[in-house]
């Protein structure tokens, strides 16, 4: 059997509609051999968690550029814990001030990539996590 591809759910929460970043990342992760599923715009934390379950995602990538990261992302993390699926890797990308990035990591986000991060580094980070899981 062929090796299972890493499944990444890319999500946009709330009313943030900046999609250039998520488009570029989707392409880069596909090029790196991953399966990418995109939620589309205007998702609630619950919709994202439901999609992660339905799509059997290994990784949840949240793109945030509008400044409302602290409103939505902690709710996603809480819902993941409620569903006992907080073993998934959660990465965040976008315009995130340093203090918010720190706070999100304390809440349970595994890694925050701010603007200027290299797409290749994001793919490598996900791949290394995957290998550490022994999958």
């Amino acid at each position: 059997m062929a090796e299972r591809k890493i499944r990444v759910l890319l999500a946009k929460l709330g009313l943030d509609s900046h999609t250039v970043g998520v488009t570029v990342i989707a392409g880069a992760l596909r090029d790196a051999g991953m399966e990418v599923i995109y939620t589309g715009l205007r998702q609630t934390p619950d919709m994202v968690v439901q999609a992660a379950i339905q799509e059997d995602a290994d990784v949840i990538g949240i793109s945030s550029l509008s400044g409302a990261q602290m409103q939505h992302i902690p709710k996603v993390l809480a819902r993941l814990r409620e569903e006992s699926i907080d073993d998934k890797l959660v990465v965040v990308g976008g315009v995130i001030p340093d203090e918010d990035a720190e706070a999100l990591q304390i809440e349970g986000v595994d890694k925050v990539f701010t603007m200027g991060a290299r797409t290749g580094d994001i793919a490598v980070y996900i791949r290394e996590w995957w290998e550490q899981q022994g999958r």
Partner: protein, 577 residues
């Protein structure tokens, strides 16, 4: 267009060209080649930043001869067809461009205060940006609005907010630009009703609405209804304004948004014009003649850092529009052929890293705007905009940059100063030819609406976005502070404009107060009228105006239309992701 080879004249016999070409050969052999033998060129090849067109080492009159460049056909005189040299015969020698600035923060009261200050500081007008709940047609107390209220712009839930927002020194204001595409008829109605309440004569200034819903589907994402219904709503606004407020501008094709989504200049112009023609066809179907409506079409573009590409884009922009209107629509009036263009330095060229460098970028781009000529208004984004919302210091610097270009460089003192440049004219022509070729592709798909519904625009843009990022990542394209002259361990430190949760709380409270004070029966009755109009083909603006005056909220009015039109949720493929 027929392009004849220039005829030899007594002063300019054909042998002059032969002598020149022989001289160039000699120069290459005796001068250039030995110099390059000593030290080669610093790059293997030179290409433009966006289009990746090869850039030659030298441009001469021969380049113009090869494309059959003809002064009268390609340029003509300023203020005349094909408007390549500008739409105003006197260029900037009468008036400089209008200096605008994008702004809009917090509650309506915060914004009015800030805008009044900017008008006092010497701006003629400004662009109102609304917060995301407003542009997405949600009230401030909607669950999706949480954390976004009054963050990226002004929050408008009801007429009460618009009345406050428009508390301005009206004697100083010439130009107001309102950006609220998906709920455009509601936004228009709010402005009309607020002007009436304030006793401001609508004809005393120009209201420009972007009304740019087709661009939202293509790349911005603040859409509500399926594209067909989006187009109908936009056309209702266009028709209403043309019939009732003939000095306003009811449609702007914001190709700057395409540019911000990393469209190449050719994509930007081709997609932008295709979209413009889709609105125009829809408006003509309402029983207008092309010369009655074409003068209302206006465009907003953004510029990249590649200086000559940017200038060629602005010049080609005017020429292509003139040709489309004349050749395709048979427009006759000069106002129909003359492009109304507002340009701005783009935020895409700005970097998060080393943000003060952005002031240099803004200066260079503003210079390109001025040299490209004919833009009747220029907006300057702010040097910290790549980072977050702009600070007050950045607003001051933005105004200063425009004044420096206007008063200290001399570029505004003669019309279209770069005309005749072998390089600029070659590039302008290439831009024109490639844009027409891309428009033909969109035509073959059935036009802009079909191209949006099938995801063509979205997929093409996604390709450009990925290409652009890989160029920066692999270093083919240098960006200072990003992949060149990077300071190791650089700490970003720039003042950021922040808004507390206080603004959101106040806004939600004001909304509750308005809801408590209004006549509910009247709200229900007027909303029912909106539903009837939406279900048929009656123009939506008048019934929405009645609902707004009854203090129905924007979310309530949009919900009625959501019921009738449905909500758009493109799949991953159509979204281009």
């Amino acid at each position: 267009m027929k392009r004849a080879k220039p005829e030899p004249t007594p002063d300019n016999p054909e042998n002059a060209a032969a002598t020149r070409d022989a001289e160039e050969k000699r120069w290459r052999r005796d001068m250039l080649d030995p110099a390059l033998a000593e030290q080669g060129e610093r790059q293997e090849e030179f290409r433009t930043q966006q289009m990746h067109w090869p850039v030659k080492d030298l441009y001469t009159p021969k380049d113009l001869e090869e494309i059959g460049f003809d002064y009268m056909e390609d340029l003509g005189f300023p203020g005349e067809y094909p408007y390549t040299r500008g739409t105003n015969p006197a260029g900037y020698r009468q008036d400089l461009w209008k200096m605008l600035q994008v702004t809009g923060f917090g509650t309506a009261n915060d914004s009015a205060e800030r805008w009044s200050k900017m008008l006092e500081q010497g701006l003629n007008g400004f662009i109102i940006e609304y917060d995301l709940p407003t542009t997405n047609g949600y009230d401030s107390d909607h669950p999706l609005a949480e954390g976004e209220v009054a963050r990226a712009g002004t929050a408008i839930d009801t007429l009460a907010d618009m009345e406050q927002a428009l508390d301005l020194p009206w004697d100083k204001l010439q130009h107001l630009n309102s950006v609220c595409n998906a709920p455009q008829p509601v936004n228009l109605a709010m402005i009309l009703a607020a002007l009436e309440k304030r006793g401001v004569e609508p004809a005393s200034f120009t209201l420009q609405m972007s009304n740019a819903i087709l661009i939202e589907y293509t790349c911005v994402g603040r859409y509500i209804y399926p594209p067909r219904h989006g187009l109908r709503i936009a056309t209702d606004c266009i028709e209403y304004v043309i019939r009732n407020h003939p000095n306003w501008i009811p449609i702007s094709v914001v190709s700057a948004q395409l540019y911000a989504a990393r469209a190449t200049p050719v994509q930007e112009l081709a997609f932008g014009f295709s979209i413009a023609m889709e609105y125009l066809d829809a408006t003509l179907a309402r029983g207008f003649d092309v010369d009655e409506v074409a003068p209302y079409w206006s465009f907003i573009t953004g510029l990249e850092m590649d200086f000559f590409e940017a200038i060629a884009k602005l010049r080609a922009y005017r020429k292509i529009w003139a040709r489309l209107m004349k050749e395709r629509y048979g427009a006759k009036k000069a106002e129909s052929l003359r492009l109304r263009l507002m340009s701005s330095p783009g935020t895409t060229g700005l970097t998060l890293q080393q943000p003060l460098n952005n002031i240099a970028r803004l200066g260079i781009q503003t210079l390109a705007c001025a040299l490209g000529g004919g833009a009747y208004a220029i907006t300057t984004p702010l040097h910290d905009e790549a980072h977050a919302l702009p600070s007050e210091e950045a607003v001051r610097v933005g105004i200063a940059v425009q004044n420096i270009v206007a008063h200290e460089t001399g570029v505004a003192d003669t019309v279209d100063p770069l005309a005749g440049s072998y390089l600029v004219e070659s590039m302008t022509r290439r831009m024109e030819d490639e844009v027409f070729a891309e428009i033909a592709k969109v035509d073959a798909l059935g036009g802009a609406l079909a191209a949006i519904e099938s995801g063509y625009f979205q997929k093409e843009l996604a390709r450009s976005q990925r290409a652009r990022y890989s160029e920066i990542e692999d270093g083919t394209r240098k960006q200072v502070g990003v992949n060149h002259l990077v300071q190791p361990g650089e700490k970003r430190s720039i003042e950021m404009f922040k808004l507390g949760e206080e603004a959101e709380r106040l806004q939600v409270k004001q909304l509750a107060r308005v809801r408590a004070d209004r006549d509910e029966d009247l709200v229900t009755k007027t909303l029912e009228r909106v539903r009837e109009a939406a279900s048929g083909d009656e123009n939506l603006v008048p019934p929405i105006l009645e609902a707004v005056k009854a203090y129905a909220t924007q979310g309530e009015i949009c919900d009625v239309m959501r019921d009738v039109f449905g909500v758009y949720h493109p799949d991953s493929l159509t979204a281009g992701v």
